[in-house]
């Protein structure tokens, strides 16, 4: 719940973030925050099916990548600007989620995790071998003819907007009937059924929503990076990272992935500056273990003293 003083603070933080590009901070700094926005969007979206519903998808990066490629192809072949192309990108990702959701959501726990992981691998491999999509060469998009500072700022503001949107959307869902149903499914799917909840219906809806925003974000991101390659946009470590971020912050609440994305992105940056990547990854591995053993409900619950039951 957001109380009076916090609302005030939040307003100023958001205002500050909006104005930030105008005071011309170093590009590196702006890029870092941009990356944080990306992970907020991805992990909050993931959390709709993962944390809220309890179906941990380990291949979620696939929806992001599908979004990237959709808008890239539309740009390359039809000249459609990715700012417009992002919408069909999101819709296509949702459509894919709908199609594979029906069979996959019948599986529980580990089976669902493995099948979504397979799905992501398959999409990655298919794209790599499909020449229409650029194959393993990737796609090069023409850059916008604009000052780089200005274009970076535009992307920044768009992603800021998307982040705010997904966070509020997630919060809205958590507190309405749909979210309550998802939470019931997470707690005990059989019991949820005995309470008149059409679990298949809710799960599919959550899955589609969780794919839509990464699709849109991917659509915009295509233009940001302008060189698209499967290794970049279907990178499994992105899937893994967003799961960790959501779980670290606490999956059952809208605030979890937000906190997780911010903290872990910053930690990631600091680590990559000072230590070897292998050591950084060892620390990540350790974090997975620490989170699941000591704070299975996320860091916020842990700090509040709400232990496991």
């Amino acid at each position: 719940m957001i109380k009076g003083k916090a609302k005030f603070l939040l307003f100023f933080v958001i205002l500050f973030l909006i104005i930030l590009p105008l005071i011309k901070p170093p590009t590196y700094f702006l890029s870092l925050i941009f990356k944080i926005f990306l992970y907020i969007i991805l992990s909050e979206s993931w959390n709709l099916i993962g944390g809220f519903t309890g179906y941990l998808s380990f291949g979620h990066v696939a929806f992001f990548g599908i979004g990237v490629y959709t808008s890239a192809i539309l740009m390359q072949n039809l000249g459609i600007s990715p700012f417009i192309g992002a919408l069909p990108a999101g819709i296509l990702s949702s459509a894919v989620a709908l199609i594979i959701g029906y069979p996959c959501l019948r599986l529980r726990g580990p089976y669902f995790a493995v099948v979504t992981l397979c799905f992501a691998f398959i999409v990655d491999l298919v794209v790599k071998n499909w020449n229409f999509l650029g194959g393993s060469e990737g796609i090069h998009l023409k850059l916008m003819e604009m000052d780089i500072q200005i274009s970076r700022s535009i992307f920044y503001e768009i992603f800021l907007g998307l982040s705010i949107l997904i966070v509020f959307f997630s919060r809205w869902i958590q507190n309405n009937k749909f979210g309550l149903g998802l939470a019931a499914i997470r707690e005990d799917e059989d019991v949820a059924q005995t309470l008149c909840i059409n679990t298949s219906d809710l799960k599919i809806k959550a899955f589609i929503l969780s794919a839509f925003f990464p699709g849109i974000a991917g659509g915009i991101y295509a233009y940001y990076i302008s060189y698209i390659h499967p290794d970049i946009v279907f990178d499994i470590s992105i899937s893994i990272l967003i799961v960790l971020m959501a779980l670290f912050g606490g999956g059952s609440s809208w605030s979890g992935p937000l906190i997780g994305a911010i903290i872990l992105s910053i930690v990631n940056e600091i680590l990559s500056l000072f230590i070897k990547p292998e050591f950084a990854r060892i620390i990540y591995g350790g974090m997975f273990m620490i989170v699941i053993v000591f704070m299975p409900d996320g860091i916020v619950s842990f700090l509040k003293g709400e232990r496991g039951k």
Binding site: K177, L180, D188, V191, Q193, L195, C196, I197, K309
Partner: protein, 242 residues
Amino acid sequence: MLKGTNVTKYFGGLVAISQLEFEVKEGSIVGLIGPNGSGKTTLFNIISGFYRPEKGKIFFNNVDITRLKPYEIARLGIGRTFQIVRPLKDFTVLDNVATGILFEGETKHIEEARLKAIELLKFTGLESKKEIRASSLNLADRKRLEMTRALGIKPKLLLLDEVFAGLNQREIEEAIQLIFRIKNEMGVTIFMIEHVMKAIMKACDRIIAIHFGLKIADGSPEEVANNPKVIEAYLGSSDVTS
């Protein structure tokens, strides 16, 4: 109200229930007894839609519900509890009950559902604990919550699976009273599986006894208690607690 014809269920090569015919009349409290493994919970799972029988049909108010999904059966008005209680652990007691009320359909908003949940909790005596996390409740309260939660969906038929197990004398007495009140004040028909013989004799109008998936008795508590086949079935096992 509830009728089963020729209900047969296999698990792999094992027969769990065989050609079972049973009926539960509206407004009654019917008991289902039998030694462990005789197929009682299996039958409940079939009625509530979690299992599909290989043969036979289940009718609820003359509607064939055999092939319906569990949530559809719940919407038709059959509620159930589970043998090993399954509270929604992270939910408060209030929300455990409010969820069913909300999804039953008549109530449109969460806040309205929560208000109705409070009324229901008052009826079953859990109102003072409504803000407590379900995981913190003791066994007797969890069982009470399980029943309250099932009542949230406005059931016409309530399937109770061993609600007395693990309760002491006093708690059993309270539970029996609650069940009577549910039947009399809310007009809910009750079909209950039980092992605690004294309790089931007291609570039920009729008792059905099954053994190895077959029906061996069907009648008033006195008739069933004196039925030689029933006595024989139970002599072999040590799970009669009275």
